[in-house]
Amino acid sequence: MRQPTAESESAGGVAPRGRYRAIVIGGSAGGMKALLTVLSRLHEGFQSPIIVVLHVHPTESGYLAEHLGERCGLPVKEALDKEPAQAGVVYVAPPGYHLLVEREETLALSADEPVRFARPSIDVLFESAAHVWSWRLIGVILSGANSDGAYGISQIRKFGGLTIAQDPTTAEYPVMPQSAVDTASVAKILSPEEIGGFLGGMNCSTK
């Protein structure tokens, strides 16, 4: 079954409506720009929560959500511990904390030690989200200069979720998406514009 607008939306197609319950996105160096491109194609009333880990300097706490919020059409907030993950909201991990998802679809923070030098860690978010949403989860890896997220993307794949990597040739820093691709767990390799178009295809009511 194909959306009528699939071809015109973008070369990446669009996500089938109703199937996916949540989106997780990870990125590092160069990831901010790619993320803004993706988010700019999503609009108010989006049908699932979008949960983001972006590696930034620990002193920039609070700044990240503000920066994204000013530049995209969806509400963006820094994740709070125990907060329910609501559709149409972009949650970003606070610097210095891991962000996880609980089975009752609430967000959880942890001050555990960094995982492979990263806190927040993309792997930690993706693995926990895969356990909660399994095949109803979309995981996206954007530009970055390290390989955080490769393990996480393979976990999402293992639970039947949809895995997307930014096309490394479009990434400012290709190591992160390339590492994800190298796990052979990535289903779609797309430019940020195409990722935005694809996810935007979910932005229809579930009627």
Partner: protein
């Protein structure tokens, strides 16, 4: 039912076995985080093929259990962590503490002690140390004995010093420790009024008439039911008008334990116990 659901059953059974056998209650820890640590232990150190296989080992092999629960305490900490919180304590709490003839402070979940010594330094600089009694508790004995020693790696000193300066510290931070070969030792005089003790927030009771409770980056490890228990425990352990300080990403908003408290400083997560008769 998918594999994640099955794994969740295994984890519930494992935590139940630990509780029944050893009395350590992790059943109401935030599930996502403890699941991650169990998986990690399973893959790296258990010699088991599944979480279910760990259950008989936990029941019959005490050393296996001890290795496992070592992974459940995360004593990650630093001195003057979140410096602005200490600044706020100086500005908003200290003036009230100064009105008491003696001051009782409880650090719940003190890990390896950095937070406790930070408080000791702050009290010293504010002229409050001599009338203060500090209780520092954790359920991790290994962390507690490190806390008692007060010896830290020399490479943390740069971060500690930076934090101290941002926290509004008025002296030179190096006055508070002796440098050794590859470590630093906290000044003996800072330890005088500190009592370290084992206390488990999940199972143990009220802890005296406190004026200030510091419990930072501990509640995030608990689910909301256990958070409520702990918030009530803190409510009962504080004098009226006493203060509670949580981690900067923690909140009482998603539990019903918040009813005892009003917010004093939102970003620093400083709460104050409401007076008796104060309508909830």
């Amino acid at each position: 039912m998918n594999n994640a659901d099955i794994e969740n059953i295994e984890i519930s059974l494992l935590l139940e076995a630990i509780y029944e056998r050893y009395g350590h209650d992790f059943r109401h820890y935030a599930r996502a985080s403890i699941s991650r640590r169990i998986r990690q232990f399973l893959n790296n150190a258990s010699g088991c093929a599944s979480i279910s296989e760990m259950i008989p080992k936990v029941l019959h092999d005490e050393s296996f259990f001890e290795r496992l629960i070592n992974n459940f305490s995360i004593p990650v900490t630093e001195m003057f962590r979140d410096p602005l919180v200490y600044r706020s304590i100086r500005q908003k709490i200290v003036p009230l503490l100064k009105t008491y003839p003696f001051v009782r402070i409880w650090h719940a979940g003190c890990a390896t002690g950095e937070e406790v010594y930070s408080m000791a330094i702050l009290l010293k600089e504010e002229g409050l140390y001599d009338r203060a009694t500090i209780f520092a508790t954790d359920f991790n004995d290994v962390a507690l004995s490190k806390a008692k020693e007060g010896i830290y790696a020399v490479d943390s000193i740069k971060q500690f010093t930076g934090n101290y300066q941002q926290s509004g510290g008025s002296a030179s931070f190096s006055e508070y420790y002796h440098a050794r070969y590859d470590s630093i030792a906290i000044q003996h005089s800072l330890k005088r009024n500190i009592t370290f003790a084992n206390h488990n927030l999940a199972t143990d009771g009220v802890f005296g008439e406190m004026h200030l409770i510091m419990c930072r980056n501990v509640l995030i490890y608990l689910d909301s039911a256990l958070q409520s228990r702990v918030a009530n425990l803190f409510g009962e352990s504080l004098t009226y008008g006493g203060f509670l300080c949580l981690g900067t990403k923690e909140t009482l908003d998603f539990t019903d334990g918040g009813k005892h408290f009003k917010v004093i400083d939102e970003p620093a997560r400083i709460y104050q116990k409401k007076a008796a008769g104060f309508a909830p």
